[in-house]
Symmetry: C3
Subunit: 179 residues, 3 copies
């Protein structure tokens, strides 16, 4: 290959790597919110570290990280973690760093609370046997708000669909107008 | 082309296809929220199927799908549908599947309600005459919450900008501090 | 290069340009929400124009734009601006347009308000000395809601983490269940 081809090959590889890392992050968050612990474990290196709560909770190693999430995220809770704005740098042939913006929501009807916030992740990824894995994930919060939820009959929200309790189906019917 | 070139061409094509499919989804959701029904129809195959409400509402064929949305989404409502975390697989030269995470909000001031939730889409796309189209879209809800909105003078939100009623302009003025 | 190579080189360049423009937007919004005014200035052309509030506020030139944001966004406020659904077109070798969907939140505990909304951006980007910069940014709001926040002891949200006040650390501890 000549120099132009070499540069093109490098650029193409970088685009493929960025896609693979982004998809890893999307899979990890889907596994958190849908409680897919085995699939989540497969997103992590054996020595993966995680920092939650903006740094107040630190876990070391895949088993500790998954064990913490499994305990902190029962299906009694609803959670929604959405990451945005990837700023990913390949810092070596098998290593990358990633900054992401997070929006998250936790709803715990047993405790009668919601927690909503935003954060910036600083992640590290490594490529092991051809597959990108999360080697570190952690974030610092832009903000986090705790709200005590009134009961639905006192102005609080009513849960009209739930992944586990209603198999994701809504009890609402839209009002349709005639064109 | 030699083998390296063939692989590179394949990888580049895949990246282009993923971009095209993502953009199709973004256009579809923009058309939903801005009520652009003709442009929305052009995102769908003639036989497109759609499942809304986490499976409670099923429509078959482009006309039925667009007709349902047109009736369920008058401009009296505000809606915001945002999809994230694409996990798209090309499963054939002209067919792809897509998993997406959805966050959505509906505000109906006439009924005095808001509906907020999250979901996972399972979509199918096909390429027709060189253009990717949605052949099936549907989702299962992670959660959905219905809230009865108090009037603004009773602690409820005040609408300070609206796409149709204020041409998208805000009535708020920021308080500026002097550096 | 033959025709196939030329097309491939063009497609690859387009993918790289789209990535660079997306990353520029992500950096700009991170700089807004984290109040990184010098880094934000480096995202703008000298003559950059910005339209905020759905068109009610217009600023011309990098210094005016940064000056406005600096005054309107003290660290007393929490802000979260997240953009989604990029529909970017390269309209020349060094010029592009971008449509984005925005979700944003402002929380001002001094005034006791939150402002939440959604919008569509219509941006213009230019490439100067090999670097993409924002030459115009502006949006039209889908909706914007102002809510007067009750105090936390009257049912309002309690701030449990804050980028500047708690260094992004949360004061909440999850309730862990035993598997």
């Amino acid at each position: 290959m000549d120099d132009t081809d070499t540069t093109a090959a490098h650029d193409l590889l970088e685009l493929l790597e960025l896609r693979a890392i982004e998809r890893l992050k999307y899979r990890y968050l889907r596994c958190v919110d849908l409680r897919l612990w085995d699939e989540l474990a497969a997103c992590l290196t054996a020595g993966a570290t995680a920092s939650y709560g903006g740094g107040t909770i630190v876990r070391t190693g895949r088993d500790e990280v998954v064990g913490f999430l499994r305990g902190a995220m029962p299906t009694r809770l609803i959670s929604s973690h959405k990451c945005h704005h990837p700023e990913i740098d390949l810092v070596g042939p098998a290593e990358a760093t990633g900054v992401w913006a997070l929006d998250d929501v936790i709803i715990d009807r047993t405790l009668g609370i919601s927690v909503r916030g935003a954060a910036y992740y600083d992640d590290r990824y490594v490529k092991v046997d051809g597959t990108w894995l999360i080697d570190h994930t952690g974030y610092k919060r832009v903000y986090e708000e705790l709200t005590l939820l009134p009961a639905a009959d006192a102005g609080g929200p009513a849960m009209t669909a739930h992944w586990w309790e209603t198999d994701g189906r809504s009890s609402l019917t839209p009002t349709e107008t005639t064109p």
